[in-house]
């Protein structure tokens, strides 16, 4: 029977006279077909020589030619060295110790080079301080091969020779000697003994030289407070391994707080040993990486944090102070006071508030406690920026008192909050030179752009911490006609020395003493004189003696008072922060880092303003999932002190303190960037007075923003067997069967442990190597260094924002972040277990709906997930062409050349770790990241295949690395020692969360970890028998 249903195309059809309806009826296609564009031009059409028959001929010939060409192998040319360097053997990697010191990131690292090309960054385990490469440092090797790098010096944007630039600059500088105008050097933080010396010599030569150090993201308050107390402009060093109680007021010390590098010490203290682990309490506004790892996180606005800090100080001294904070915070403070009171020297307090008073109070508290984790005698030099000097310089520039401005490692026009003033000042400067690797906002408006070296092409030295020196050495010759700042200074000083000679001389006279230069260069690090650890020990002794020092009490008292009286200044409080992936924005052109998802929000390719759920409802902001699953967010307009930033996308962030918002700096670069990299919104204009806390008014603006999220589902839904959690108390007192339950399944109507039931027979895996990987959820901070290391090692392609939004990201290793729906994951589990029936109070229908929403201040857990290399792998059994198979050594192997792309395996994988190449990501200009140009391809690891379109790929457990280790041992004719087997992620993890090894070696660490009570497998009840195992996360909820 014919249906009488009428299908409506649009509401316009209600009116039969509507012209649209008529057009729709007449035209087959709704949109007009641009036929006229190619057929309309009769003249052109008739004048072309190609008629239909010719066209068919061409098609036929070209098809035939292509077919013929495919039958014949290409002729490959091989060009050996004319004179082969002694230390390079084609096919064998060399490692060099060097140091990154770009003004934001300071780390001692190893660089892996192949045939003279740096291809990967690794941790320098010899380094005592900052020997761990974070995600940005891991990714920095790709910035070396950035195709947008400047390839030579420029004058007003036109290429010139270095000789021209040199002579022009020298002439100007010499001319300025007489004029009395100052020569200003505006540079990044170097912390370099040789550069400091060089600049002082430069001063001697040219007289009126004013060296101003500028940090894009300032630590001014901490530096000033430290200087006031200890007489040196530096930052106190902390060793969180030694702390039993860690209290942080807005300090994101697992990320970039005070130069970063604190996470490995922190993680060591977090793994329960002998029933003990550290307790970490975090007061903060934004949900930071550090807060996510805390045992207790108390959301407070920055103003409230100040008051809380003041109260803590008072409480520790048995006094009281004014100021109001919420009750829950008050209770937490009391607990903390008690906990600290139990063992004063094992506690440490830190703060990230850009407030000199707050910083001074924190220093005073740590002194007072005699904290073992606190070290002021051997401080860190990784931030040297001086806000006052920068402001003076800008004023001088505007007043025309600056004759020459030479910049290095900074992009003030982008990063200065008052960039307009700076740009105005530039006009009045006679000579402006900037050393930069890329064309940027600053190089756009100055006279001379000196194309600068990447740090992997440079010489340098750094004193990261007092007495801890490290060296930077080039690992590749300059790719372009570039020059580093110091070399240019030497040239302008008419010196014929190279900067290498200069460093060597400085070190031999000032640093090395009796030690050997070659050894120092080989190690990359050098510790001078008596060990600073010992010094610190003695310091603790002395301070312990007079515990009750409310020493410089006058200052501190007023500081505490002003903290206690802190006011928000009306409006909401904005906390500006830097992202783990982007930092201050120097590497905004780096596709690896752009695609690296934020550990908390899991958003890539963007920054945004984070708003609490309550505030979002008040202001009308929404987050919703579009039809393809992608997340959309409203736009907001932020106004700080009359400065407005519009169209900032909004993310509703669980755990964001109500009344506060957060936004990441470093995004929004536009000049000199590929279109794909021009992401996010620049937050620097809001960074007024170099203060990361601002009073802001938010308004909703029009339109929705499309986010590219790597994870769309945020809560664990009470599935406690995915991330197993327990508390320290239970962990210490109860049997592991209780807190690390083995799932049971039904066999013959009997409940039996899932591990005992199997569909398949098992192979004997006791012979040879059997690789396993251990991931300790207690040690993992979610920093993501492993993710970028994996990308670099395995040639993982960058797919771009659009593709990430379609959930087609290619990362072999992801770090899942879960929020709890109730206050804790435990409560989630209980809630789910208590579901009774479909509807009603405890109905699962409504209950599961509720579980989808994270709590206002949720617990957070991170879980790195890669291919679990199941011994009984579901993917292997469904592959129709046997492209994925199991190796005897435990690896689930993937033969790309065999794969036909059915994706059955990905569908059958319970862990969702298999990635499909939807496109050809290399040599494809549609993906203009780095694999489509010769320069960017230099970073490719030659030992790993670059995959093609239409195949599945996934973690191989770095089989190229295990194979190499085995081969090396075979060649030497020796057994393999524990620790030799490594994967890219296990090597990158300085926190010790990822451990890799051979479980058939009974003495190995991995074998020991596998026997641990905390060990569990992901989705154990599925029976996949994975070769990756996790360790139950233990939270220290022991409140005093």
């Amino acid at each position: 029977m014919a249906s009488n249903k009428k299908y409506w195309k649009s509401e316009a059809e209600l009116n039969p006279n509507d012209s649209i309806v008529e057009t729709l009826r007449q035209n087959e296609f709704v949109q007009e077909i641009p036929v006229d564009e190619f057929l309309g031009d009769k003249e052109q059409l008739s004048s072309t020589n190609t008629n239909r028959r010719d066209f068919l001929k061409y098609v036929g010939f070209s098809t035939a030619a292509a077919a013929m060409a495919a039958c014949e192998g290409p002729v490959n040319k091989s060009i050996p060295y004319v004179i082969q360097p002694d230390n390079i053997v084609p096919g064998v990697a060399n490692y060099y110790a060097t140091t990154i010191a770009n003004g934001f990131d300071f780390a001692s690292i190893l660089v892996k080079t192949r045939e003279g090309r740096p291809i990967k960054i690794e941790n320098n385990t010899d380094a005592k301080v900052n020997g761990a490469a974070n995600a940005r440092v891991q990714g920095s090797v790709l910035s070396l091969y950035d195709s947008t790098r400047l390839q030579g010096p420029l004058k007003d944007g036109e290429p010139v020779e270095w000789t021209t630039l040199d002579s022009d600059v020298k002439a100007k500088l010499n001319g300025l000697k007489a004029s009395g105008k100052q020569i200003a050097l505006l540079t990044q933080t170097y912390a370099s003994p040789s550069t400091t010396k060089l600049i002082s010599e430069f001063k001697e030569m040219y007289g009126e030289v004013n060296h101003v150090t500028y940090d894009a993201i300032s630590e001014e308050a901490a530096l000033s407070a430290f200087e006031a107390k200890y007489g040196e402009r530096a930052l106190a060093d902390y060793n969180f391994e030694k702390a039993d109680v860690i209290v942080s007021f807005g300090a994101d010390f697992l990320a970039d707080w005070q130069g970063g590098g604190y996470d490995s010490g922190y993680s060591k203290g977090r793994v329960p040993k002998n029933g003990k682990m550290s307790r970490h309490v975090q007061f903060e506004a934004n949900m930071s990486l550090t807060g996510a790892n805390a045992d207790k996180r108390i959301p407070l606005t920055p103003m409230q944090q100040k008051v809380a800090l003041a109260q803590l100080y008072a409480k520790l001294n048995g006094a009281t102070t004014s100021g109001e904070i919420p009750d829950y915070a008050q209770r937490a403070l009391e607990n903390i006071t008690e906990e600290i009171g139990k063992n004063k020297s094992a506690a440490v307090v830190v703060t990230g508030l850009q407030d000199e008073n707050a910083q001074a109070v924190v220093l005073a508290i740590n002194e007072m406690l005699g904290s073992k984790a606190f070290n002021a005698t051997a401080p860190k030099y990784v931030r040297q920026g001086n806000v006052k000097n920068v402001n003076n310089l800008i004023a001088d520039m505007k007043a025309g008192r600056v004759g020459a401005l030479i910049m290095d490692g900074v992009n003030p026009v982008f990063t200065l909050p008052n960039a307009a003033d700076f740009a105005e000042g530039i006009d009045k400067v006679d000579l402006s030179v900037a050393f930069s690797t890329n064309w940027n906002e600053t190089t756009e408006i100055i006279n001379y752009t000196a194309a600068s070296n990447h740090y992997l092409e440079s010489w340098g030295d750094t004193q990261i911490k007092k007495g801890n020196y490290s060296l930077t050495q080039p690992t590749i010759q300059e790719l372009f006609d570039t020059r580093q700042f110091q070399t240019a200074l030497l040239a302008w000083m008419e010196s014929d020395k190279s900067y290498f000679d200069y460093i060597k001389e400085t070190w031999e006279t000032d640093v090395l003493g009796e030690s050997d230069w070659n050894q120092a260069l080989h190690d990359g690090v050098f510790v001078s004189g008596s060990s600073p650890e010992e010094e610190m020990g003695s310091m603790v002794e002395t301070t312990l003696g007079n515990e009750e020092i409310t020493a410089d009490s006058v200052d501190i008292a007023s500081a505490v008072q002003s903290l206690a009286n802190a006011t928000s200044g009306g409006g909401m409080e904005l906390t500006l922060y830097s992202k783990v992936g982007m930092g201050d924005g120097q590497q905004a052109g780096n596709p690896w880092l752009q695609e690296f998802p934020d550990p908390i929000t899991r958003v890539s390719w963007d920054n945004y303003v984070t708003v609490s759920k309550a505030d979002a409802e008040n202001l009308g902001f929404i987050n919703e999932n579009a039809a393809n699953g992608g997340l959309d967010g409203s736009h907001a307009k932020l106004t700080v002190n009359g400065v407005t930033v519009d169209n900032v996308p909004v993310i509703i962030q669980p755990g964001q303190a109500p009344g506060s918002v957060g936004m990441a700096l470093g995004y929004g670069r536009r000049v000199g960037m590929k279109p794909e990299m021009q992401t996010g919104v620049n937050a620097y204009p809001l960074y007024q007075g170099y203060n990361n806390v601002q009073s802001v008014t938010l308004e909703k603006s029009t339109g929705m923003h499309e986010f590219a999220c790597m994870q769309l589902h945020n809560t664990l839904m009470g599935r406690g067997d995915i991330i197993k959690e327990t508390t320290l108390e239970i962990f210490n007192t109860k049997d592991h069967a209780e807190w690390n339950e083995v799932p049971v399944v039904s066999l013959n109507h009997q409940e039996v442990p899932a591990t005992t039931v199997d569909l398949w027979d098992s192979f004997d895996r006791s012979i040879g190597h059997h690789f396993n990987m251990s991931i300790d959820l207690n040690a993992c901070t979610g920093c993501g260094a492993c993710v970028v290391a994996c990308v670099a090692e395995n040639n993982v392609p960058v797919v771009g924002k659009e593709e990430v939004r379609r959930s087609r990201d290619m990362h072999w290793l992801r770090i899942d972040r879960y929020y709890s729906s109730e206050d804790t994951f435990e409560e989630d589990n209980i809630k789910k277990d208590e579901f009774d029936g479909l509807s009603g109070d405890k109905g699962s229908l409504a209950g599961f709906g509720e579980l989808e929403h994270p709590a206002t201040n949720p617990q957070v857990a991170f879980q790195p997930v890669m291919c679990q290399h199941c011994n009984h792998a579901p993917c292997e059994t469904v592959c129709p062409v046997a492209a994925t198979s199991h190796g005897r050594q435990g690896q689930n192997q993937m033969a790309y050349n065999r794969c036909v792309g059915t994706r059955y395996c990905a569908n059958n994988c319970p862990y969702k770790v298999r990635r499909f190449n939807w496109f050809l990501y290399n040599n494809n200009d549609e993906f203009d990241y780095h694999m489509n140009n010769d320069l960017g391809k230099m970073v490719v690891n030659p030992d790993v295949n670059v995959r093609s379109r239409g195949v599945i790929e996934k973690c191989s457990m770095c089989i190229q690395k295990t194979q190499k280790t085995i081969l090396d041992a075979k060649r030497d004719g020796r057994e393999i020692k524990d620790g030799e087997f490594q994967t890219a992620c296990s090597m990158a993890c300085s926190n010790g969360a990822i451990v890799f090894g051979d479980i058939n070696d009974e003495k190995s660490k991995i074998a020991e970890l596998k026997e641990s009570d905390r060990m569990y497998h992901l989705l154990e009840h599925v029976g996949t028998k994975p070769n990756v195992f996790y360790h139950v996360k233990v939270r220290n909820n022991n409140e005093a």
């Binding site: 192998g73 082969q84 064998v92 050349n897 030992d943 295949n945 190229q960 081969l967 060649r971």
Partner: protein
């Protein structure tokens, strides 16, 4: 017919006389050479010392830096003694002192010693304190008059050279003669047949014509038999499939691929005639996945002093000559090397103007296959020839093995793992061999057939 034979005879006579003429002329030159050698022998007779011993000593000690008639790292040494005494007034004692301790003399400020030191880029001559005065006498005797190659050998050489040439001529002659003989035979047969026919006709014998059968021609009969057609077409299809398959399976397999290289490098001369160990040049095969094309500085280790090709003492073989591989040709290739590496032969130094050589890669594995030379060369101890074939016999290198996966796998199935004196294998071999119940494990049993071992 007679005429033809006659003409043939004429050409033969001409050819032979040409050969004789050539033979004669060459032996005349040879005699000249012998004469000059004799003269040199006479001049050398008056200096003491044994030039034959001297030659051996010279080759052992001096030849790395000196040649007789050519500047190398050090000056040319032909008639060095007489030259020195004539030009500089230095006697043999000075030479003894110089050879035994040149640096001492330079330090002591000897005028000529310093002059020569500065002239040759201040490269110190190695001191030879071990050489006795008699040894030096012998060497000087050799430099004064290099001993001739043994006369008998020289003559044999000449004779053989001639033989080669004359045989070349006779080959052509023989071929030509054979052709003519065949032509004659055919002509004779035709003539005989015609004569016989004529006789038969004359005798009135009826010639049996082939009976023009009125039956169907065979192809029509074939076309009408449907069964035959069917069978035949099935056969054709199968055969076509067979050959198509065979053809398609060889796509991408370049066995026998022997590209022409920018410099004619002969593995036969280097690895065969001169027995240079493969890994001397392909040194990275020991430690790396690549065997490595030697960098040009490796070539120069030898070719600094080997500036021309002297070939076999017997001279280029007939086959080489046929291919144009004369001594001059090879010497020309050495000059190409000098040009590429930027070696100034005249002044014995590098100019720094280099032109890297673009070799054509012979063995190409696809990118998705990982192969490691050191695993096979150093660990397994496999001879290069196992996969690369008799390289030492290849004038132009060609791909010997198919380099297909089947070929790899086959070898992994058949080859035993070399576990001797390798501690790495001790435990795993003991356990695995027990498990499989064998004395010697094959690579396959060790896990050498797993996909992930070569594809990642």
């Amino acid at each position: 017919m007679k005429k033809v034979i006659y003409r043939n005879q004429i050409s033969k006579v001409l050819g032979i006389s040409l050969v004789v003429l050539l033979l004669f002329s060459i032996s005349v030159f040879a005699q000249d050479e012998v004469a000059t050698v004799a003269v040199q022998e006479e001049t050398a007779a008056d200096s003491s010392g044994d030039p034959v011993k001297g030659k051996t000593l010279f080759n052992q000690n001096c030849a790395a830096c000196h040649a007789l008639n050519r500047k190398m790292t050090g000056p040319a040494l032909a008639n060095v003694e007489s030259r020195l005494s004539e030009e500089e007034g230095l006697d043999r004692e000075w030479l003894y002192a110089w050879i035994k301790n040149s640096s001492g003399m330079i330090k002591d400020g000897d005028v000529y010693a310093n002059k020569i030191y500065n002239e040759y880029n201040q490269a110190l001559m190695t001191a030879f304190p071990t050489l006795s005065n008699t040894d030096i006498d012998d060497i000087l005797a050799y430099t004064a008059a290099p001993p001739p190659a043994p006369v008998a050998a020289a003559e044999a050489l000449i004779a053989e050279g001639d033989g080669g040439k004359s045989s070349g001529i006779s080959n052509e002659l023989i071929l030509g003669a054979l052709l003519i003989v065949f032509a004659l035979l055919i002509m004779m047969l035709v003539l005989v047949q015609r004569t016989l026919k004529r006789i038969a006709i004359a005798n009135g014998v009826e010639l049996e014509r082939e009976k023009a059968e009125k039956g169907l021609p065979i192809w029509k009969a074939f076309a009408q038999n449907q069964f035959l057609v069917l069978v035949f077409s099935i056969f054709l299809l199968l055969a076509a499939a067979y050959f198509a398959y065979g053809w398609m399976m060889q796509i991408g397999i370049d066995q026998g691929y022997a590209p022409i290289q920018p410099i004619h490098y002969s593995h036969k001369v280097h690895a065969g005639d001169n027995k240079i160990e493969c890994k001397y040049c392909h040194s990275s095969a020991r430690v790396s996945k690549h065997s490595g094309i030697p960098s040009l500085n490796v070539c120069m280790n030898c070719h600094k002093s080997i500036y021309e090709y002297q070939g076999n003492p017997e001279g280029p073989s007939q086959e080489d000559l046929a291919n144009g591989y004369t001594n001059e040709f090879y010497t020309g290739e050495i000059k190409k090397l000098y040009k590429a590496v930027g070696w100034d032969e005249e002044n014995q130094k590098y100019t720094g103007e280099t032109q890297p050589v673009e070799w054509v890669r012979v063995h190409n594995l696809p990118d998705f296959a990982y192969f490691n030379h050191s695993q096979h060369v150093s660990v397994a101890g496999i001879e290069c020839q196992t996969c690369h074939g008799p390289v030492e016999e290849m004038e132009i290198l060609s791909q010997y093995s198919p380099l297909t996966m089947g070929w790899c796998i086959n070898c992994h199935r058949e080859t035993n793992v070399n576990v001797e004196d390798n501690e790495y294998y001790t435990k795993i071999h003991e356990e695995l061999s027990k498990k499989y119940g064998v004395n010697q494990l094959t690579v396959a049993q060790m896990g050498g057939l797993e996909c992930g071992k070569c594809h990642y």
